[in-house]
């Protein structure tokens, strides 16, 4: 893929703190316009990786390009939005003032801010709290105002580090809707989240990382269409029929009435059923079961989470 088509490109990005390796060697490509999930267990180096892409932390070695420019460049930051993991800001400011300060730091005009701020406060559901001091905000409200500041400049690339942390189900849905709207706008979203069910719904592609290395990158859509485990309850299953099933996938379990097999794609299920019926098998139940993101996560990362 051409560099111009990439929102993020890292090559062997590494960060060590004294003798502790936080990120081993991150090599990653995120195309523009994609919602990209960055998944890994605690201590996998996710936040440090994001900080290196934003220029907050200097890499020990390797390189990172963001929107086609070396990470951390001031001009590139005009096109970036960032919601830190635990968003904090001066508690003595009101919600409106907080957004005003951030907008001014982006170099936005007063007129533009007068348009954007009420719109964003409405978007994150804080219009009624616009004059409330930030120190009086709940954790969820802080996340919401943090999200609003990340969207102020209509960024081309948005880094969201655990955006749903501290949010109730309504808040989580709001984040999902916002991400969807950003994708429709053509922005790239780099999402770091522990809530795998959320990631599964929102992301186009995910990367599993462990100790700062990418273990696997997958497109969610091909996943949905892809590898499926089919559970069957049927009678008159004999060894010959079981051997015949192997043409669609590996039989991973069978007894007198039950079997399960993993197929490369759910498209083959009708053929499989026709074969069984033709062979005189009485089929009572067929349940396709796609591997959830969480199950795949545990397969790839391991139950110990790399700790």
């Amino acid at each position: 893929m051409q560099t111009a088509d990439l929102a993020i490109r890292t090559r062997g990005l590494r960060k060590t703190f004294l003798n502790n390796v936080a990120v081993e060697g991150l090599t990653l490509e995120v195309p523009r316009g994609e919602v990209f999930g960055f998944l890994g267990p605690n201590g996998a180096g996710k936040s440090t990786s994001i900080k290196m892409m934003l220029g907050l932390v200097a890499p020990t070695s390797g390189e990172a390009e963001v929107l086609g420019r070396p990470a951390g460049e001031v001009e590139t930051r005009r096109k970036i939005g960032f919601l830190p993991e635990h968003f904090q800001f001066y508690g003595w400011l009101s919600g409106w003032e907080l957004l005003d300060v951030h907008g001014r730091l982006h170099g936005m005009s007063r007129q533009k801010l007068r348009q954007r701020i009420p719109m964003l406060l409405e978007l994150v559901g804080l219009t009624a709290h616009r004059d409330k001091r930030v120190r009086e905000f709940s954790k969820g409200m802080l996340q919401r105002i943090g999200l609003a500041q990340a969207l102020l400049n209509e960024p081309e690339l948005i880094f969201l580090d655990e955006p749903t942390s501290g949010l109730d189900p309504i808040g989580r849905r709001l984040v999902r809707d916002i991400i969807k709207a950003q994708r429709e706008r053509g922005a790239t979203v780099f999402l770091n989240s522990h809530l795998l069910s959320e990631v599964e719904i929102t992301c186009d592609r995910v990367a599993f990382i462990k100790r700062g290395r990418v273990l696997e990158t997958r497109a969610i859509q091909t996943w949905i269409d892809g590898e499926t485990t089919v559970s069957l309850r049927a009678r008159k299953l004999d060894a010959q029929i079981l051997a015949g099933l192997a043409q669609w996938g590996a039989v991973i379990h069978s007894d007198a009435e039950r079997l399960s097999l993993t197929v490369g794609t759910s498209d083959v299920i009708p053929d499989l059923l026709r074969y069984l019926v033709r062979s005189g098998v009485d089929v009572f139940e067929v349940t396709p079961h796609r591997l959830s993101l969480e199950e795949r996560f545990l397969q790839v990362v391991g139950e110990d989470g790399g700790l």
Binding site: L56, R77, F82, L105
Partner: protein
């Protein structure tokens, strides 16, 4: 440039919103009131000649300035010591440092905000003290502007040192270092004066060395020297009248010390992980 201004204003507003500035002004007013009352009820017997009266008033004025200087320095350190290290520790700085703001602009903006804050406070207090002294006793201070400038430079120096160590250490450690260094300078200043008083060059040199490590107190002593009457200086009338006056070169050194400290702070802050 605009970012610097935004951050300077934000820092200045912070001191006002957090009521730091107002409380400091309140304490300053209480201090001026106390000073005014003392001057109002001060009587001079018939044996006190106008010349001696003027020297006493001068000494009183310097004592007032000394207390005021301490107030400004304490406010400067206490308000600024947490600004860099605290925001790094809490992560607050991340939201700012990822905006299109250069690291040095971020630091300079905050620094200017604090400079603005204590400049207003210092000017109000010094002018208030001088006006009150003139109004009650008719005493007009010597070289007030020179004294004010030196006291201002002392606050700038201490602020810069707090910023410098704030880029390296936690808030508490930074506070201990900044105040500890000033304490060292304070002690060094007295050692230098005692050395001069007893004509002990070795002791005086120890004091000078302390001023080289931290020249903040030397600036106050130079300010006191500028504001005292020549007679008081000659007689060694006041404990604040410098026996061994820091030279103009020491003032220049303090200025360079401040600039270099700021330059190092900018460099360290630009390089450090946030």
């Amino acid at each position: 440039m605009r970012s610097i201004w935004v951050l300077a204003r934000l820092t200045f507003k912070e001191t006002a919103r957090k009521k730091i500035l107002w409380m400091a002004l309140f304490v300053g007013l209480a201090f001026l009131l106390l000073f005014g009352l003392a001057e109002h009820y001060q009587t001079f017997g018939p044996r006190i000649t106008p010349l001696i009266r003027r020297q006493i008033l001068n000494t009183q004025f310097i004592v007032g300035m000394y207390a005021l200087n301490f107030l400004v320095l304490a406010m400067t350190v206490l308000t600024s010591v947490d600004t860099i290290s605290g925001e790094i520790a809490s992560g607050t700085i991340q939201a700012v440092a990822t905006k299109p703001v250069r690291r040095h602009q971020l630091l300079i903006g905050k620094w200017l905000g604090f400079v603005g804050m204590f400049t207003i406070f210092l000017c109000l207090m010094v002018c208030g003290l001088a006006a009150m002294s003139y109004w009650i006793t008719g005493y007009s201070a010597h070289h007030l502007l020179r004294g004010l400038s030196l006291m201002w430079l002392e606050s700038v120096l201490l602020l810069t040192v707090a910023f410098l160590f704030g880029t390296m250490f936690s808030t508490l450690t930074n506070g201990i270092i900044a105040l500890g260094l000033h304490g060292l300078a304070f002690l060094g200043g007295w050692i230098e004066q005692f050395g001069a008083f007893t004509n002990n060059e070795r002791v005086a040199t120890i004091g000078v060395l302390a001023s080289i490590v931290m020249p903040s107190e030397a600036l106050w002593r130079r300010a006191a020297f500028e504001m005292q009457s020549p007679l008081v200086g000659a007689l060694g009338f006041s404990p604040f009248a410098a026996g061994a006056t820091p030279s103009g070169m020491m003032v220049g050194y303090a200025l360079v010390y401040t600039i270099v400290s700021l330059a190092i702070a900018l460099r360290l802050f630009s390089k450090r992980d946030l």
